[in-house]
Subunit: 441 residues, 2 copies
């Protein structure tokens, strides 16, 4: 019998600690990112968990041959830490000994150790297990982590409880045809389009809840804005006085995420030359007014009075940036017809809902709004839409037995990151994207 | 045009702040959990986000009639904070005015405001949207939140990067028949049984990664230990020297979760009378030895030399508790036949793997181990199993182009919570469980 006691083994030094060891020999590990041979010496870039460290191979002091190591070999090494004022870190490593832990069986099919991976998006995604090893590619998903951390910390500080709701569901929350069907032991089930029903139920339990989890949309069009599976940041809060409380909360949440990036992800922001937006006063315009403003400003004909064309979202963002300086714009009071059955209608105008979208740099990143909390009101709205309330019995249970006024939102994590980076395709901001033609890797 | 600036609206007081307002009138909100009428006054229990607060209705000072409020009505109230030494909190609230925000349309079909919800598990789950409003039921899922927070904080402090991997996948990681099939635009796809392939790929990128997300198992048996969808806590780490490094890391992670509960969830622990386990020295026994020890100790016949019967896991836990005082036990070196194709075999005995399970109070809560990182070794093992390596091209890409020695584990969040609470069915620890007969609510 052995004993496992959780006492940390003597670990190798992490990159952040190297600076405390100037003049000493340390043990480190990592992947060989790049080798640049010079006369009598070589630069060896070592990729560690979050940095790429420049090491020196010097045949006079290094106890191995430079040809022993290959790019993408994983190694352990002993290295001497030397003060080096020209280096950004203030030090430089000279490799003394290396142990090869593994090496690639052949040269890489794609160059990953240049500034960018210079290839088509198709190749980039096909070779994801290796293209993600590129310094910039992986920096992007550190920012994704940072955004989640910022959101989560903010929501927890504001008394939101984190929940885990099922993704195999008995009914779609958003309606429509873009839902995946599943054979569930001979019965039909679906993949959740959103945690909508569950987060509402949980408002009756904890007042404020959130979830960061996958959602699934069987979108049949192959666009640069859509993914068939994405990470949705959802929150839902009770005891609101107006749907504007939700927008206020979102603004604060977004600020918290940017603060987190500024505070803990400077290296990645610099590497990717990210220009973070300012968040101060975000304008909020009613949907109908926005439609008319765009038409007037750009001399465009309005073809669909009930929805935006993608081009209109872009123009609206452009226009509001010029007029107000804000890269964000809320659009409110969407037509009832275009919103789900649980959306609350405006008391002053039943044709529109007390709901909103948030556009950021030309693309919708959030949909939110107040929900119906009154049982009879919800029942009537379902009946007006020829829905069968009997199919939603467990959903309606919460309305039946008392719910506070409430609302919430869903934010697409990949879309938000993609707009932060000004990418022309949301797939760049998803580790392993799923679209109509892609389920691998 | 309106302006949304994220400046917090003047919020009502949260429960934790009430103590600073003794002698003053405050505004609060919540659901009426229970009304106990006495002579000339009543106790009104108000359920807020995390507490149940005792309020006094006194017809001499309360400006409403007690019959105006019902159990499960949502209210806003003005209340006077009085010092009250007999109260646990040191204060007591007298209700002055209430505004009814909503009320149930009929009496509840099930009593939720007693100490426990006294009903069958079937009813408990059928009525989840309201039974979760019970003080203890919801406390349970606060503990779930606390466990996740503890794990996440620990992993981030130890340089693990949080990732989001796809749940719609092209191949199952665990093999076998218990996988859900999906019609993905006319092609066949599956629901992920684990993030195995992706977390391994990401070790090549960040060295250490983790994910807390749903996984799906099409288990056809209806047992008290299985869910068809559960939340899996997965981590994977590179540059290990032995699979024991993973076990050491897990022990520290578990300690961190218990510390988080002790530090920030005392109220819930007390309410549920949870006895947290001690984690000091956890014994680790080889699978074959464990089988023989159980057989000898309990005079049982060994029927299956390659797997545990559930009863044997229970007996092993019992035996190890007696012998070592530990409620946890690692079982190591499981037979290769019973482990997936990516499990690394023991160099000294190809019949067993350098893998482990962790049992806690009689049930397996974790499976982990070292993975094959060498391309040729992985290819050979797949060929020995008559697998088609061509189907796993994108998975094998990482091995081909260099991977460090690595391994990791998956822990079932609901199972762990369920054992902490000594429940006889894992469904109690899942908000909305999915089993062969249940996809609602």
């Amino acid at each position: 019998m052995k004993i496992i006691n959780g006492i940390a083994i003597n670990e190798e030094i992490s990159t952040g600690e190297i600076t405390q060891h100037i003049g000493k020999t340390i043990r480190i590990h990592g992947s060989i990112y790049k080798i640049r041979k010079m006369k009598g010496f070589a630069f060896v870039l070592l990729r560690t968990d979050r940095s790429v460290i420049q090491c020196i191979y010097n045949k006079d002091v290094s106890n191995f041959d430079i040809s022993d190591i290959k790019e993408e070999s994983c190694i352990r090494a002993e290295a001497l830490v030397k003060q080096e004022k020209r280096s950004k870190t203030g030090w430089e490593l000279t490799l003394l000994n290396v142990t090869i832990l593994s090496e690639p069986i052949e040269g890489l099919p794609i160059v990953i150790n240049q500034k960018i991976v210079d290839t088509s998006i198709g190749n980039l995604l096909d070779f994801r297990p290796i293209t993600l090893r590129n310094e910039r590619e992986r920096a992007l998903f550190k920012l994704q982590e940072g955004i989640c951390n910022g959101f989560r910390k903010f929501l927890q500080d504001n008394r939101f409880t984190e929940i885990h709701t099922p993704k195999i569901v008995y009914a779609g929350a958003e309606g429509g045809a873009n839902i995946f069907h599943l054979d569930y032991f001979g019965k039909e089930a679906f993949l959740a389009q959103s945690p909508q029903f569950y987060k509402q139920m949980m408002v009756g339990v904890y007042e404020r809840v959130f979830e960061i989890a996958p959602v699934f949309r069987a979108e049949k069009h192959d666009t640069s804005r859509h993914l068939n599976e994405y990470t949705s940041v959802d929150f839902e809060m009770g005891y609101i006085e107006s749907f504007e409380d939700i927008m206020q909360m979102e603004v604060r949440m977004l600020k918290a995420a940017l603060d987190e990036l500024n505070g803990n992800y400077q290296a990645e922001l610099e590497l990717l030359a990210v220009r973070l937006p300012e968040i101060n006063d975000i304008p909020a315009i009613r949907f109908h007014e926005a439609k008319e403003m765009i038409a007037a400003c750009y001399a465009r004909e309005i073809r669909d009075m009930e929805d935006f064309e993608p081009e209109e979202e872009k123009l609206l963002s452009e226009m509001m940036l010029k007029r107000t300086g804000s890269e964000f714009v809320f659009v409110t009071h969407y037509p009832s017809k275009k919103r789900p059955f649980y959306a609350m209608d405006d008391k002053d105008n039943q044709e529109v809902t007390v709901s909103f979208d948030l556009l950021f740099r030309g693309v919708e990143i959030t949909t939110g709004g107040q929900r119906i909390h009154n049982y009879h009101e919800q029942l009537e709205k379902m009946e007006r839409r020829n829905m069968q309330p009997g199919e939603f019995e467990s959903y309606l249970m919460m309305h039946k037995y008392g719910m506070p006024p409430h609302g919430g939102l869903g934010l697409g994590l990949e879309r938000f990151l993609s707009r932060l980076l000004n990418q022309d395709n949301v797939r760049y901001s998803c580790l392993f994207p799923r679209d109509i033609n892609r389920v691998t890797p």
